[in-house]
């Protein structure tokens, strides 16, 4: 597990984190985060990707409770399997398991052809982290982008 940090860093970087989302709706926020993925050159077409994310949204709620949502798009518009993370100072209405709005959104962008099992494994690890209440509390409290990456990489910091 010594290479854990290097590994998770393959699916997230500082460009893919927004600590103060502007969007007030689910649609706006997914667009905001998708734009980050486009700017980071991880997706080829923002609208195609968003369409695929919303296809998944129709299949069931992606709000997992505790103020966190994990929308995901498996899409041919994805070049690199990555995650984008947005935190918000205001609640965003979302379909969630506890019927409460969210303030943290983790958008999974997954390549259509899963040639790369390594990246899927890393996404799994992120999903597993979300089972931990302590992780979720710390994610909501993250003060800067580095904080967020450290959290994901399992560096507890102080």
């Amino acid at each position: 597990m010594a290479d854990k940090e290097i590994n998770i860093a393959k699916v997230i970087n500082l460009n893919l984190i927004d600590l103060h989302l502007n969007g007030k709706t689910k649609k706006d926020v997914i667009k905001e985060l998708s734009t980050l993925l486009k700017e980071d050159d991880d997706i080829t077409n923002t609208q195609d990707f968003i369409d695929d994310v919303f296809l998944r949204e129709e299949e069931g709620e992606t709000g997992i409770g505790q103020g966190v949502a994990i929308p995901h798009g498996k899409s041919k518009a994805v070049k690199n399997t990555m995650i984008a993370i947005g935190l918000s100072d205001h609640p965003i209405p979302w379909e969630t398991l506890d019927d409460k709005p969210v303030t943290a959104v983790i958008l999974f962008a997954v390549r259509n052809q899963d040639a790369d099992t390594l990246h899927l494994k890393l996404l799994q690890r992120v999903a597993i982290l979300l089972s931990d209440d302590d992780f979720i509390d710390k994610l909501h409290a993250a003060k800067n982008k580095k904080n967020v990456i450290d959290l994901l990489c399992g560096n507890k910091g102080r």
């Binding site: 998944r56 299949e59 069931g60 709620e61 997992i64 409770g65 994990i70 995901h72 498996k74 398991l97 506890d98 999974f108 997954v110 899963d114 099992t117 899927l120 494994k121 996404l123 799994q124 992120v126 999903a127 597993i128 979300l130 089972s131 931990d132």
Partner: protein
């Protein structure tokens, strides 16, 4: 209680593994033994062994899609739920299952 479980969500990317982790945590807290197989985009992982299934008191299918290999559980009580219920309230779910298993056992006797 010994549980064998299969987790599978619609896209097989996130909820499957979140559900697995939540179940493992809840089982540990309750003193239950659980083995969780995942059927996701990446394929089947942590496949249940015939021994694990033979020893289990109950099979839990936490699935949103049709999964393969369900015939393996034909000899044990089987409970089927969606992954969202597992993510939402894993401990309550296991407690409820335990009660049901006990009831079924006492009915047999």
């Amino acid at each position: 209680m010994k549980i064998v479980c299969v987790c599978a969500c619609t896209s097989g990317i996130a909820h499957t593994y979140l559900a697995k982790a939540k179940l493992e945590k809840a089982a540990k807290e309750l003193g239950d033994e659980i083995h969780v197989e995942t059927q996701g985009t990446i394929g089947t992982e942590n496949a249940l062994t015939p021994e694990q299934i033979a020893e289990a008191d109950v099979a839990l299918l936490a699935v949103d899609i049709a999964t393969t290999g369900n015939e393996r559980f034909k000899n044990i009580p089987t409970v089927k739920v969606g992954t969202s219920l597992v993510v939402k309230a894993p401990k309550q779910l296991l407690e409820r299952i335990e009660e049901e298993v006990k009831e079924r056992k006492s009915q047999k006797e």
